[in-house]
């Protein structure tokens, strides 16, 4: 420190102000504050804390989101058979994500007040693996959504190359403003295992949600997943129609995906024949369309690569008499 600087500091330190508080002003202001506080809405302490737990802890946030969405949306899949329609999925995403957000807010209060830590499954609408479904061939769907660090994509791309995973471009959703370039590939059991091992051993590919559900062959299942960040709500909606193909254990799969935040993006994959041990891996990028767009300015530019691993397995129906699987019901 130079001599001049020291002199300035000394000058500042010895400067004296008349800064004694005016207690008349303090008391008057206190009265105004009391009136202001009486008029302004107050936040309940414990509710705020619980909300903070859900919002600010990634694990809790995803756990609550995943549990609630499965409870709410698995039952919505009992609709007619047929091709997955983008318009329907988009609408489901819009309304479903809004409902999910609303539900989470209500659940924050309910969890706080109720002795049960998690919301109950809607009666008669939700099925879990192992439960009997009236002897009808059923497909178990496991969806795993991963987010990839865009900066580490070289390492990930290298892994995909070494595994010789060949991606095919999926169709874009004509109903969405910003169709997303998306690619899919079928993985053998060995490649699936290698991919999952990679996700466990590398931090650049992070699993954000992994719901699973049962659906009858040929019927449509919806899954809506959401994460509730501090100021924004984002989510993915997935529609799947698995149809058991004859008795050879193959499954015809129609699959739609929509990433819904501010801008809705998505793609569709039709009539993919899945072998008994095969999985479907989808790679898609979700991002703001232009970094200078108004939406990007408001909500920040997003550039994220998502991987969706879809596993479908035929679940043999149970014998209604003894609960054991019916032999040769489906192969």
């Amino acid at each position: 420190m130079s001599r001049n600087e020291k002199q300035v500091e000394d000058f500042l330190r010895r400067t004296k102000f008349d800064d004694s508080p005016n207690y008349k002003h303090r008391d008057e202001l206190e009265q105004r504050l009391v009136a202001t506080l009486a008029d302004s809405p107050r936040r309940e302490n414990s509710r705020w804390n619980l909300r903070r737990i859900v919002i600010e802890t990634k694990t809790h946030k995803r756990l609550v989101a995943a549990v609630v969405l499965i409870a709410v949306f698995v039952g919505m899949g009992q609709i007619s058979t047929g091709r997955v329609m983008f318009a329907k999925v988009t609408e489901t995403a819009k309304t479903g994500l809004a409902r999910l957000k609303e539900f989470l807010e209500k659940e924050s209060l309910r969890i706080q007040e109720s002795p049960k830590p998690l919301p109950p499954r809607p009666a008669g609408t939700t099925t879990m693996p192992g439960e009997d479904i009236q002897g009808v061939p059923t497909v178990m769907i496991v969806v795993q959504v991963f987010t990839a660090n865009i900066k580490s994509n070289k390492k990930l791309a290298g892994f995909l190359d070494t595994q010789a995973i060949q991606f095919v471009q999926a169709q874009s959703d004509p109903n969405l403003v910003y169709p997303t370039p998306s690619f899919w590939a079928k993985l053998s059991a060995e490649k699936t295992e290698a991919f999952l091992q990679y996700t466990k051993s590398h931090s650049d590919l992070r699993r954000i949600v992994s719901p699973r559900l049962l659906v009858r062959s040929g019927q449509e299942a919806f899954i809506a997943t959401g994460t509730w960040a501090s100021r924004s709500f984002e989510g993915q909606a997935i529609a799947i129609v698995p149809t058991i193909h004859g008795e050879d254990g193959r499954i015809d799969l129609n699959f739609s995906f929509i990433y819904a935040e501010v801008i809705q993006q998505g793609f569709e994959i039709r009539n993919v024949q899945m072998g008994a041990d095969e999985t479907l891996l989808v790679r898609t990028a979700v991002q703001s369309p232009k970094s200078r767009s108004l939406i990007a300015r408001i909500f920040g530019k997003r550039e994220e690569t998502l991987f969706v691993l879809l596993e479908v397995k035929i679940v043999p129906p149970k014998d209604p008499n003894n609960g054991s699987p019916v032999p040769n019901a489906t192969k």
Partner: protein
């Protein structure tokens, strides 16, 4: 300078742990009495900060009122958990309020006039040397950009450490240190130009 941290306990609800925050900050969000207690605790500090920034008691009272009224309206949105964060939050509100005030058109000239009126009234309180120093300092400080005024006031008049200054102005301690160094260099030039002779 740092206030005590919050106290929080865990309450078991349905097998899961729910944090039951009993800190004064958490209480202040839902209880006006708790907020008023915090107000009483921090009124003096914020008022003094405003005086040190504005060199004018009356304006400082107005700004202090604005600061606490804004805090009362926004306490529900305040995300901090302990009193240290609350105090920094108040200082941030005060800093923004003072800077907004200083940016107003012709405000600086008006402040000068009021200051001279005030110093005439207070001539019995300070000796001539102190009064001259205060006048010089005031002229020099107001010629600096608000961000430089802020770091000087927080560090020298509010006796904050650099790490605390950094928390208030929302930057790293290194940035606060370099900003303070620049501010002092500029202040020295202004003081010299205004006739300060050590």
């Amino acid at each position: 300078m740092m206030a005590s941290d919050s106290s929080a306990s865990l309450k078991t609800v349905g097998g899961s742990h729910v944090a039951l925050d009993t800190s004064p900050i958490a209480q202040a969000r839902c209880d006006s009495t708790a907020f008023v207690q915090l107000y009483r605790k921090y009124y003096d500090a914020i008022f003094r900060y405003c005086v040190h920034r504005l060199f004018d008691r009356h304006t400082a009272e107005d700004i202090t009122s604005d600061v606490f009224l804004k805090a009362a309206q926004s306490i529900a949105c305040f995300k901090g958990t302990n009193e240290s964060q609350f105090r920094n939050w108040l200082y941030r509100i005060a800093t923004n309020a003072v800077n907004d005030h200083l940016r107003k058109v012709n405000r600086r000239n008006d402040l000068y006039e009021r200051y001279y009126e005030q110093t005439d009234e207070q001539s019995t309180t300070y000796d001539e040397s102190a009064e001259r120093d205060l006048t010089l300092l005031r002229q020099a400080m107001f010629s600096l950009r608000p961000k430089y005024q802020t770091v000087i006031t927080l560090h020298f008049f509010e006796n904050m450490k650099l790490i605390e200054v950094a928390e208030v102005i929302g930057c790293s301690p290194g940035t606060a240190r370099s900003r303070l160094a620049r501010a002092l260099a500029k202040l020295r030039k202004r003081l010299t130009a205004a006739g300060y002779v050590p």
